[in-house]
């Protein structure tokens, strides 16, 4: 029955059925085993004693009727509370267990994010190629797959190592997690087989199923690859979110709900969405670095054109997925606050608050690199001279906003922290540091980035519609008024009224930014409908622009590591928040500097493994020339 429903049911339905199926299989399987007790003493107490194990039959006696067994099955199982390990229950291996798990988990997540994201946009690009009939798309999609293929094995290796490390170093915690999630991990393991099957048929079948109806088969394989990958991700996410906001268990950790109630905690879907989007941004950035490297290492104009275009597409995917991330992040934080005000404040205030300055540096780097790449890309087209003079103003706005953003802001600190810092406000830059100034800065940065993007899109076109001037005037007016409005909202409500308005006006600020983006897209798409296209030349971009494509993945990788530190730290001294205490020697939140060192270690490690992955991808295309002299000489 499961095979037929698999094809049609949606992911979650499939999962539910599959887990039910597995549960039934194991549940009934365990019950139907017939044990023969080899003791000759047949007493009812013996039967009673072993009856709960399963259906029993004492040697030489009638089997216990089925009804009795089902009665045992129907009985409420005893609730098992979460373990309370003491410090001695944690193995001491001489180095920090947390550090070991940290590195392995982060590596697993990096590669997991990469191999989930790449097939996703590969599928989209392949479909575009199929629809437009442009072979270049198909070639590029195939190349994206090729370079990330080793990533699947690396993900699995780190996943296995992580599981091993967790079971060895945190036995009580893992025992509890296994108890809570039960047979779900079998579903998880089973999905790996499915994913591998689809991965290899999708990748190796690429050229075998290239045209016509077979292409549809191939696209379907890609879809199933993505479906199994996504299911794997949401299953793994449920463990993380269970640890942050447990559901389906009572206040001492005893399981009271079914597996669905356990999985569907308050933070599950926000994390699912957030990771889904972030993975795409991350994947785009990483393959962009590959294109940049290939671009730099060749002088062949044809190859340069190909890799320039590949780098541009990767960057486009990365930035496009990056822009909605703040909104997904906002939803996640809102749910965190709704679940536990205390957890929200731990994340946004208190010790971890400083980390948002680092986050500002990272996001600033990403935006600056993205803008710089767009400006450099204008050299591909002849029409871009019209917009070149604007770039310096955009750059100026970006830098000013960036500096305002990273200015330390008002933090929610404990008394001792305030004493340590000598006041909760920055001495000199105080007023610039509070939230309204940052809201202005962030929104203006987003608008500036969109302006760069819009100018880039316009640079190879000339509008031919009669209302072009009026349209431009309207667009300029929208940009100017929106920016003034954002500044006004921030200053007026932020500095002159109270908190309620401050929060309210930040919504209006984000609204203004969105209006600019939507208006820009709508006006331009109407205005350039039948526009005259100026010639553009792929590959005609300065070499230095490619460094932006390296800055992006490095910043993304680091940012992911940083956010992982926050996500894990908000649980404070709990393995499973409010349910299972962490009594290990590492149950404190490490300092931001320590976290920084750890994140750098994993980022560099990731860099090395990615290089290995790319190297392997190119190895397959390399062929050693036949050693002429020796073979002629006399190899038998």
């Amino acid at each position: 029955m499961s095979n037929n429903s698999m094809q049609t049911a949606s992911c979650s339905r499939l999962l539910l059925w599959f887990s039910l199926f597995v549960a039934l299989l194991f549940g009934s399987g365990g019950m139907n085993l017939v044990y023969a007790a080899d003791t000759g003493v047949a007493s009812s107490s013996l039967q009673e004693r072993i009856a709960p194990v399963g259906r029993v039959q004492v040697d030489g006696q009638e089997p216990i009727p089925q009804a009795a067994v089902s009665k045992v099955r129907g009985e409420k199982p005893e609730l098992i509370v979460a373990p309370r390990p003491s410090r001695g229950d944690y193995p001491d291996i001489g180095i920090s267990s947390r550090a070991v798990v940290w590195v392995l988990a982060q590596m697993h997540l990096f590669f997991g994010a990469l191999v989930l994201a790449v097939p996703l946009f590969v599928l989209v690009i392949e479909f575009m190629g199929f629809k437009t009939g442009d072979e270049r798309y198909d070639v590029m999609a195939h190349e994206f797959m090729k370079i990330s293929l080793t990533g699947f094995s690396i993900t699995a290796i780190f996943g296995g190592s992580l599981a091993l490390a967790l079971f060895v170093l945190y036995p009580d915690f893992m025992g509890y997690m296994m108890h809570v999630f039960g047979a779900q991990w079998l579903v998880y393991a089973g999905l790996f087989f499915l994913e591998s099957f689809f991965l290899y048929t999708y990748y190796y079948g690429w050229n075998a199923m290239r045209y016509g109806n077979l292409k549809w088969v191939h696209l379907t394989l890609g879809l199933l690859l993505n479906a199994s990958g996504m299911t794997i991700m949401v299953l793994a996410n449920s463990w993380a979110t269970f640890m942050m906001a447990p559901s389906g268990v009572n206040e001492v950790g005893a399981v009271i709900g079914n597996i669905w109630e356990i999985m569907k905690g308050p933070l599950w879907n926000p994390i699912n969405l957030h990771r889904f989007i972030a993975n795409i941004a991350f994947g785009g950035a990483v393959v962009g670095a590959y294109a940049a490297f290939k671009f730099l290492s060749t002088r062949d104009p044809e190859k340069r054109a190909h890799y320039d275009w590949m780098g541009y597409t990767s960057n486009f995917i990365g930035i496009l997925a990056f822009l909605p991330l703040p909104f997904a992040g906002y939803w996640l934080m809102a749910e965190v606050y709704a679940y536990s005000q205390q957890m929200g404040i731990t994340a946004m205030g208190g010790i971890l608050a400083w980390l948002f300055i680092v986050q500002a540096v990272l996001i600033g780097t990403i935006l600056l690199a993205g803008n710089f790449y767009l400006w450099s890309g204008m050299s591909r087209t002849e029409g871009s001279v019209r917009y070149q003079p604007l770039i310096k103003y955009i750059a100026f706005v970006l830098v000013i906003c960036f500096l305002t953003w990273v200015t330390p802001h008002t933090l929610i600190l404990s008394a001792s922290e305030i004493a340590e810092l000598g006041g909760s406000h920055h001495h000199v830059l105080g007023p610039l540091g509070i939230m309204p100034a940052k809201n202005i800065a962030v929104n203006l940065m987003l608008i500036a980035t969109f302006l760069s993007f819009q100018l880039y899109r316009r640079s190879d076109k000339v509008a031919t519609v009669s209302w072009a001037r009026a349209g431009n005037a309207l667009l300029v007016a929208i940009y100017v008024v929106a920016m003034v409005n954002i500044i006004f909202l921030g200053v007026y409500y932020g500095y002159f009224t109270n908190t309620v308005y401050k929060v309210g006006s930040s919504v209006a600020q984000v609204g203004s930014t969105l209006v600019v983006i939507v208006a820009g897209i709508v006006i331009d798409s109407l205005m350039f409908k039948n526009a005259k296209t100026l010639p553009s030349h792929w590959g005609k971009i300065p070499d230095r622009s490619q460094y932006a494509l390296f800055a992006l993945p490095i910043a993304f990788t680091w940012l992911m590591g940083l956010m992982g530190y926050v996500r894990s730290s908000v649980k404070t001294h709990w393995h499973v928040y409010t349910v299972m205490k962490d009594n290990s020697p590492d149950n404190f939140i490490p300092t931001i500097g320590y976290a920084g060192n750890m994140i750098t270690i994993v980022t560099v490690l990731f860099l090395l493994f990615v290089l290995f992955m790319f190297w392997i991808a190119n190895l397959s295309a390399t062929k050693q020339p036949k050693p002429v002299a020796i073979s002629e000489g006399g190899v038998a």
């Binding site: 005037a473 309207l474 300029v476 100017v480 929106a482 409005n485 308005y501 209006v515």
Partner: protein
């Protein structure tokens, strides 16, 4: 750049002014909308929130 297909300078000026007026009105309305969906008045006279 100007050719007879496009507008005169005066018309451009007018279009620009109109565009700004339009944008100002639109954003005034938007601010009003965004504040009111949160149950807040636009509060341009600095009344403290209730």
């Amino acid at each position: 750049m100007d050719n007879n297909n496009e507008m005169s300078t005066a018309a451009t000026m007018l279009a620009t002014v109109l565009a700004f007026v339009l944008a100002l009105l639109a954003f005034y309305g938007l601010d009003h909308f965004f504040m009111s969906i949160q149950g807040l008045p636009l509060n341009l006279d600095l009344t403290p929130a209730g």
